[in-house]
Symmetry: D3
């Protein structure tokens, strides 16, 4: 499966193991990316620090960083689909369903976001994210106007670009190393919780 | 939603209504494509006749047409994803899960079939289908050898190509007319039947 | 030549043979597609039923389906060229020349329709057909306005999309099976009939 | 039609007019490119000097420059089709038909050279020409072997590349300036001469 | 210039300022990326932690992580050119010249690495890096063999992929925010130091 | 290095040698293209005649051909980068730096002209040149308006297109034959002359 064997949990540094156990506690399982990257602790720490900075912004910043958790996962799902990254589409599609409380939205965004049941604001957000993902060299001042028109702040636009860029890194690592999504992700958010 | 309003069931010709009721009986709902295309009965009849000829081959042909139902739906799912057709990926992904009895396979095939948990024979089948889908003008004699090596007959290869070609038609009709998959499809084959 | 041997006329089912003889009577030869597909009668019937529904609309529909025979063949020629399908460009290019009574138009449309001597209405028709052919997933509501502006009805737009989609199927079947156009097609419509 | 008006024949410099009259004498008409480029005499002279150096090699070089006239026009037709240049496909397709004495070959080569009725040697020649046309930066030493295997000399390979490169220039000039092929070209080589 | 104003050095957190001053001390100027990203300290810290983990591996790992500093900057230069990122091509091209002690190599690698004066081992390294950069979803087991044949370890291959992935993130951030390379970079490593 | 050995200077025809010596006198070295193409004198003469007609227009034409020497070299640098031609990017990038008196501009234009420090007029010029370079078949009347708006004459537009087309030829010849830029070019125009 994964081309690079993941370390056993007992062999990873304490700080990394602590975070992994915390995630396991919350999710009920350890998402494969946490163990797969742990074979290189320094990269692991940088990866998750970056992830948290983009996906879990401090509450004190809420006025200028207005993307919801659902918005953020939607960006990840759409751009990871453009990069054909199995791990991220499945894992973040699950989170997208949960945060948006929409069991169908992840499949829609992954297959063709233009057909998805999302807001006009989210459509503009994804149009920009896809350009960052696929043609970042062509981005110019004219690409900011439609986002401002939808009420996005400059900090939001930075977030859209940075989330796209960061998961472009994640997509390449997962695809190259053949990282597989945990089976649990496929069903999360599709059916009522108590199943 | 759908750009062209679907006719009411009571207004469609008898033969079409009969088939639709039969499908409804079996599936528990009417897949949108049946009503969406019914606004043009002649096209409807040709479409489903073609569909049946490719997807439901006569048992008498089983010796030379060896693709399983799962194989056929897998071709549809993979090539419809390449065409970014929401309707077909969701609807035929559901059938793929059911026929293959693999709740995860449709998402894998849709996102990146190279990472999917499928057989080598299926991988060769999808490599060929994707070339027919995306670069049919480049197909040459050399593309048949890997399929023969996996035990496919010439009739199987015709089936792979024809299924790809037919659903390329279906993909374009669904995308252009903004046909939406029924919500029921998204969950089919993911959880045990009696849920 | 053709990778799959065509059946002999005497071995095809009666209804198929009747249509083939009718075409031969009219054209003076049997276009290869009629025999090549006849090896699978069910697909043959569906294929030509679909063809007729799109290319030979009932006269009763003329008010809302306003594409001329020349328009229809022009769509086939342009999109088949985009798919690099030799059979369809040559065979339908011949019909295009005849219906439009323009000996040069098929070559123009096949090489670069933007340079062809066609009406603005036909140019808008081909712009849309090419998008259905090559990027159907990107079609949105905004693509309908230029067609309405040229007087196309919603039924016309359906026709443009469906003809493009159907011949995309035809293109893939012809290219994959190495179907060759009859030599007669190459010259049809280029010189006065009585030559 | 042509975006830049062509000069009248009487206004072009004597040497250019002499060549044009010579062509007219031979062909029965003046191919539009001769007049269209004559508005800039220095470019005209360079263009036709380059053309002649590549398309009319000196007989003394025949041992190492073995491409036939038909081969040369076949390269032009195939690569001009890849560049979607109407003028060159139609004009040089006509010459290709005449030199190869094959009324069907130009349409085949223009639509999809992989399906054309040409020799294996010509197929290798066109594979290389298309790579020079579309991906010249990817050409490496490994691309020369299949050509040597078909008996092409290094001078032949230079000819294939240079003809492709030169007509890539010609294609861009014709497309940008909307140069139209003379109607006479469309039919040349399709029917017996005495028409 | 930069779309997002960089903070003044005196306003950035102490740990960040310390690193910036250290770089300034060594390079003689502050590379713009250090200040541009400092407007978001958490992202800054993750970015440079990631950078250091990939570009400055611990000496204890040298046996299995054998890429030289020049190799690493060569990957950055080649893939940043594919992404058309001005900042990274210019800044890392400078480092590439210095580490490789080859004043011409950065321009060669940036324009067309296939023509660059590099070793066969570096050519294989860049072939893989470019595939991770542009088509990561197509990477399979067969892509590892040519790297092993050149003596790369599995850790080296991880490094090649991770450097490519990380600078793909960097490229997108720089292009989207219009980050400009410092003028000093353009000339570094081109002329003898004491100039 | 170069796949086709260049002739020795003493063996080239007198007129060609004279020009080569003149260039050597002026530049201090013989740019490789002058010797590499000299193995075929007729092509050499046509090539440089074309070059001169486009790059060294007669002063009498200055009213309608208003591109500066810097503009002309900028077109060559940008489009040669799109074609990934090492020789032309390096050699003409050097001339661009010298004529524009901007040591940084060539690298900017080569990596991503949208980020280069150039005028709006030059930006419009390069947008058009890139379209001629990459999608000449899509050029239409609507592409001329932005150029007229920037004050370009129709003769200027012809120059932009023709320079792009001519160096597209040059790019293909250089890449296919593996022509390497002289080392001198890499540094020209980057540092004050008296070095």
């Amino acid at each position: 499966m994964n081309r690079y064997p993941a370390p056993e949990l007992k062999h990873v540094p304490d700080d990394i193991r602590a975070r992994i156990l915390e995630v396991q506690e919350k999710a009920g399982f350890v998402p494969n990316v946490f163990l797969a990257l742990a074979r290189r602790p320094a990269e692991w720490r940088a990866f998750f620090a970056y992830h948290d900075a983009l996906m879990l912004p401090d509450e004190s910043e809420q006025k200028v960083r207005t993307l919801s958790k659902g918005d953020r996962e939607m960006i990840v799902t759409a751009t990871s689909a453009a990069n054909q990254c199995l791990y991220c589409v499945v894992a973040h599609g699950a989170l997208l369903r949960i945060y948006e409380k929409k069991p169908l939205v992840a499949d829609q965004v992954a297959v063709n976001y233009r057909k998805a049941d999302i807001t006009l604001r989210q459509r503009a957000m994804l149009d920009f994210a896809m350009k960052v993902c696929l043609h970042s060299h062509e981005i110019g001042e004219e690409d900011f106007a439609p986002l401002h028109a939808q009420g996005f702040t400059d900090e939001d636009i930075w977030d859209i670009a940075a989330i796209t860029a960061f998961f472009g890194l994640s997509n390449r690592m997962a695809s190259f190393s053949n990282m597989q999504p945990n089976p649990e992700f496929y069903l999360m958010g599709r059916v009522p919780k108590q199943k």
